[in-house]
Every structure is written in structure tokens, then in C-alpha cells.
Amino acid sequence: MARRAFGLLGFLAVATLVALAPHWVSDFRAFQLATVGIYFIAIVGLNVLTGYSGQISLGHGAFMAIGGYTTAILMANHGVRDLWTIPLAALVAGVAGFLFGIPALRLSGLYLALVTFGIAVSFPSLLKKFAGLTGGGRGLNLFGLPQQTGGGVSVKLARHELTNNDWLYYLTWTIAGVLFVLAWLFLRGQAGRALRALRDSPVAAASAGVWPALYKTLAFGISAAFAGVAGSLLAIAVAFVNPDTFPISLSITLLVGAVVAGIGSVLGRFGSYVGPLAGASLIVFLQAYASDLLRWIEKGIPLHADPKAPGVPAVIFGLVVIVVMLLFPAGVGGVLDALTSRLSRRSY
């Protein structure tokens, strides 16, 4: 009981923090935090797949692209308002993920990782191939379209005037909150147990009456739908898509974010939302401020590296990931889970 109360209190505290954040930060920071919310959604989705059903995907950037392009094409070519495209993006990406999950049943571990990476590599070329639909390399511009809520300036919400960036922030984090609760509801019961059983021992699970094909493809579909929502929100936030909005490296970045978050952190515990929050923040802020970080390190250790040189952010990103993995092999979420379970046990 005490543990429940503790968990609820933690969740409420984090939720309040998220709700009030735009009051304390600058307009641009709100935009960055909105992108953190976008990666949060994708990481929670990836955790359903990789953490729970044990299938590794290096192709989730492509599912984000499917969601992003669904939104962009509907807005730019079919006059659909941006908000309505979000569920459609989830549907399209979810169906694509479900269908991909069927052949994925025959593969596991490294082989599955390779095949999904194949999707990530080939998808940008596919987007360029169908230039008539996707705009090819020059992309689709969504800024200032009548379908864009607020036209990129400001949004009136219940008599409050929100700047575009604050609007994006609340939009992303509302959806992130809803999706997180949905994922929790899905995984806390039978489905979650079945997936974990399949991950730990497929044979034992099957003999206990779990249908592997159903649950594995379902996990793929749900996970891809989450990625689709993330991609859709990214398209709405940036208001521009081209194949480079969803580069090959995005898929790897997402997996790194999920690993830092803590693969398989049990949903509902403190670590299961703070973990993805940490993973998503790492993706957004480390990439944006890697060269500043290098400059800061240079003050202590003279490395004679040029912070403006291309490739520096990638190297710093890799280094930080190695350090995090060495210190917290279970990810940030895992560490927090261990800490909070010890704390709550003491309060029994």
C-alpha cells in the first residue's frame, strides 16, 4: 500500500513538473522540450517491443518516417488539419509494423536487428523514389498552411494565448501522458505477462498456452504505432519533412535512447517514465550541445579538438553512452527502480 502511494506521489510530482515547465523556460527551450516529449513517446513504444517482447528493432526511424509522412502528405496535399492526422499516422504506422511483425516472427536476435536496420537504410531512398507523393529530396513544407493549428504563430486555448512552441509542448506531452498510461494498461495485465514469458523462454510460454505469433506481431504493431505518433508530432513541430528529417541514424539514436532509459523497466514504476525522460533528454540535448560540452571538457583536459568540426557531436554522443552503460548497465530506469524499491521496502 505504501508502495502504491509512493508511486502515485512520484507520478504526480513528475506530471506537475511537466505541466508547469513552460512557465520557467524560454520559448525556444519549450520547443526543445516538446521534441523531448516526441522521443519519449518513441522510446516508450520501443520499450514495449524490445524490453517486453525481446525483439530488437534498429528500424524504428522508418516507422517514425511513415507517421511523419502520413501527417505531412495529408496536411499538404489533402487539406486535413494537423491534429486529425495524428491518429491516422498511428494507424498507418501501426498496420505497417504489424505486417512487418509477421515475417519478423521467423527471425530473432541479431538477424532481426539486421533486417530492421535494412528498413532504416532503404526507407529514405524509397521516399526519394516516390517524389510525386513525398516531394523527394526537397520535402514538404507545412509551415503557414491553413491546416496548421495556429498557423505557426500562436494558439488560442480556452481563452489562453499560447505561443506556437508552448502549444507544441502541451500537445506533445498531453499525448505522451495518454500513450504512457495506455501502454501501462496494456502491459500490466495478461498481455504484459505473456510478452515477458515469451522473451524469457518462448518454448515454456508456448507450452503454457501463450500464442507467440499473436503477441509478437501485436507488440510490433503497437510499438510502430507509438513511433508513428512520434513521427507525426515531429512533422507538426518542425513543420517540414524531407528524407533527412528521418535519417538512418535516427533508428540507432532511438535504440540508444531506449537502452539509456532502461530496457524492460517495468511500466508503472518510477523508473519507467523517468528513464525514457532521461533517454529522450539525452538524445535532444546532447546532440544540440555536444560541441559546448567539448569546449567545457577542453577547459580541464586540453584535447586540441576543434569543437566546430563535423562529427564531433556523434563522437561525444557515443562517449557519453559508453559512460552511462558502464555506470548503469540497467539504464537510468533500472537504477531508479532498484532505488525506489529499496526505499519503499524500508517504509513497509
Partner: protein, 399 residues
């Protein structure tokens, strides 16, 4: 206590007015003007980074000589790798976080078009874009804060068309073009210049700006038996085209290469057999050309570069950047003692600049609110033995 507090609030509220700071827009304070932009510092088109670095060098020179109306110009340019989606994010950061006064010299057609609605919505000037997209100068009704600098691509294409009609009326033309707004703009201009002879355009092959190679397109064009080859490409793609021509042993009677791909530094790289006799247009003084060695403008350019950007001493891209930086300084001076975004756009649409030291002699940088093509005069040049040689008289290049 309460009175003291009230007084404090009043002072705080009035202080900016007293300093005259409330009248200016973001990015301008008593000592500096912050402008921003993006350039491909990395990736496929990183040769174009010289345009930003050349402009930066000239601003530093101006700052060392007193700045603009007592303010130093702080030019902050971010890397976008020639990728429009990164241009969008970087520009947003410049406008919303760094609070730049204006966006200047952003390189690339797709890149400029991707940020145009955002900047006009935010009422931030997007000036002297390093792109010749015709729409940047033409569609000011919809986008009043946007303006290019170099001659429009449509005008450039038109001049090539007119040149071919005049010198080889029976020519059969094949075109390699970048399949985006930039390449299609040049192609449309070429058709206009050919006029009734547009049928002589016998083959065209486009490539995606994110492609890796254009050799197969060149082979396809060679197969068309054309005797005139036009390269409407950028950066490494134009190099690949020359290399492919050489490998295939294709020697068209006329080879035309568009201006942004014709820097001497690039032209010197492919085998001389393939580049010899190539034709292009020119509007800046090429610092790599010994013909300009004694020119006052080029001497100034080299002094500036030696001090602030040593790699740019012979770079045509740096010269292009310096020329637009010169005009930017001109516009900022004209924008008044306390420039606003509106006064800057007003100044940029009333330019009448004679003697930009980095442009060809005789070119007048002139704009009006209804004519927004700053540089619209140019000359033809021919590549011969490792150098460009200018020929013909000054031509008017309007789309």
C-alpha cells in the same frame, strides 16, 4: 517601503526607454548587431562553406574599422549540411533562442524555401540569400521579408539559351540538372532563352540532390548524340560530370557550366581536356584569376582574407560571400542609426550601390520595392588553360 518598491518598478520600466532600446528589434543593442544564417560546413556541398566564411571575414574587417554606425556585426552561421530539415531547425534556433536581427546569406535553394514562410510569419528579414531561385526576388507580394542576391537562375539559363542560339543555331542540347527548384529554374530559363528553338533541347537527365553519383546520367546524355552539353549542377556533381565526360571520351562542341559550380578551384580539378573551352557566366571578380591581380577590389579582398580566412584568398565562393556582405553592410548603414527589421527591409529594397569592390566593374546593385534582384548584370566567360577569360559586354539578366 512600498514607495521605494514602486519607485524601483518605475525605474526598471523606464530605463530601457531612456536608453532608446525599446525602439529597436531583437538582435540590436548599443554595441552590436546580431545576424544569423546557415551554410553547409559539412557534407556533400561543403565547398559552399566559403560563402559564409568569406562574408564573415569581410564583417570582421568592417568591425575592425569601426563597424556600422558604431555597432559591430556579429554574424552567427550554423552548419546545416545542405539539408533543408536542418536549416529549418537551425534557423528556428537562431530566431527564437539567439534572437538574431535578420537572417543573412543562407545557402541553398531548397534550404531558403524551407524557412521562407517561417521567417515571413515571424517578420524576420531573410536577406541576400545565397541562391538564385527566381521566386526569392519575384514573389515579394507574398513574402515581403525575403530577397536573394545573385542573378536569378532563370535569367542565367536564359542567357545560356540566347548564347547558343547566337553562336550555334543548329546545336543539339543535352542538359544535366539537379532535380529540384534550383535545377528546374535554370532549365525553365534555358527554354525561354531558346525561344522557338526549344525543340533543340534533345535530352535532359535529372539527379536527386542527395544522390551519390551522376556518371550514369552523363552516359545517357552522351547517347543522345547532342553536341552541346549543359551542366546545371552543384559542388561535387559538376566535378563528377566533367570526370564522366573525360572517361566516356565525350567532347561536345560547347560545354556550359552554371555559375555556382564554376569556381576556379573546382574547375581546375577535373582533367583539362574535359573542361577546356567551357562557358559560364560571371559577376564577381575571380580572385584566382591573375587578370585581376592589380585590381584594387581584389587586393582589398586578399588583404581581408589573409587576415581573417586564409584559405579563402583564392576562393570564388569567399568572393561571392564578401560581395553580399558588402551589400549587407550598405543596407545596414542605410537602415538608420537605430535599425529596425522594417527599416532594414526598406533599405534593402532601395539599394543603389555603385562600385561594390568584389563585383565586376560596371555592375550596379540596384533594387526598388518592385524589383528585388540586387545583382542583375553579368558577363560571359570561357575556361582556357586553367583560367576563366571574360568575353563580351555586360549583359542584363532579368528573369
Amino acid at each position: 517601503m512600498r514607495k521605494l518598491l514602486l519607485a524601483g518598478v518605475l525605474v526598471a520600466a523606464l530605463a530601457p526607454t531612456a536608453l532608446g532600446a525599446t525602439r529597436s528589434d531583437p538582435g540590436v543593442d548599443a554595441n552590436s548587431i546580431l545576424i544569423g544564417g546557415t551554410a553547409p560546413l559539412s557534407g556533400e556541398a561543403s565547398a559552399g562553406a566559403g560563402v559564409a566564411r568569406g562574408a564573415e571575414a569581410y564583417f570582421k574587417w568592417v568591425n575592425a574599422h569601426g563597424g556600422v554606425n558604431g555597432r559591430k556585426i556579429d554574424y552567427r552561421y550554423l552548419d546545416d549540411g545542405y539539408d533543408p530539415s536542418r536549416t529549418v531547425q537551425a534557423t528556428r534556433q537562431l530566431v527564437q533562442q539567439d534572437k538574431v536581427f535578420a537572417i543573412f546569406n543562407t545557402l541553398g535553394t531548397a534550404n531558403n524555401l524551407a524557412i521562407r514562410s517561417f521567417l515571413n510569419q515571424s517578420k524576420v528579414p531573410q536577406l541576400f540569400s545565397a541562391s538564385g531561385a527566381t521566386t526569392l526576388g519575384r514573389d515579394f507580394g507574398q513574402y515581403p521579408y525575403t530577397m536573394g542576391y545573385i542573378p536569378s537562375y532563370a535569367a542565367e539559363g536564359k542567357i545560356y539559351g540566347q548564347y547558343v542560339v547566337k553562336t550555334r543555331p543548329k546545336a543539339k542540347i543535352a542538359v544535366l540538372y539537379q532535380d529540384d527548384d534550383y535545377g528546374n529554374d535554370l532549365l525553365a530559363g534555358l527554354r525561354k532563352g531558346l525561344g522557338g528553338r526549344a525543340r533543340q533541347l534533345v535530352a535532359k537527365a535529372g539527379y536527386d540532390p542527395t544522390a551519390t553519383d551522376v556518371a550514369s546520367q552523363v552516359a545517357q546524355l552522351k547517347g543522345s548524340k547532342a553536341d552541346t552539353f549543359m551542366i546545371f549542377a552543384f559542388g561535387k556533381f559538376s566535378l563528377q560530370a566533367f570526370f564522366a565526360m573525360n572517361k566516356l571520351g565525350w567532347r561536345p562542341k560547347i560545354t556550359i557550366v552554371n555559375a555556382v559550380a564554376s569556381a576556379s578551384g573546382l574547375m581546375a580539378l577535373p582533367p583539362a581536356k574535359s573542361t577546356e573551352g567551357a562557358i559560364s557566366i560571371v559577376f564577381t571578380k575571380d580572385p584566382a584569376n591573375p587578370a585581376w591581380a592589380k585590381d584594387k577590389g581584389v587586393k582589398l579582398f586578399q588583404t581581408v582574407m589573409r587576415r581573417y580566412y586564409a584559405d579563402g584568398v583564392k576562393s570564388g565562393y569567399a568572393a561571392a560571400g564578401a560581395s553580399s556582405a558588402y551589400t549587407m553592410v550598405d543596407a545596414l548603414k542605410k537602415a538608420g542609426k537605430d535599425p529596425t527589421r522594417a527599416s532594414l527591409v526598406n533599405a534593402a529594397t532601395h539599394l543603389n550601390e555603385r562600385g561594390n569592390p568584389f563585383l565586376l566593374p560596371g555592375i550596379l546593385v540596384k533594387t526598388t520595392p518592385r524589383d528585388r534582384f540586387p545583382v542583375s548584370q553579368l558577363r560571359l566567360q570561357r575556361w582556357h588553360k586553367g583560367h576563366w577569360n571574360i568575353f563580351g559586354k555586360l549583359l542584363v539578366a532579368k528573369p
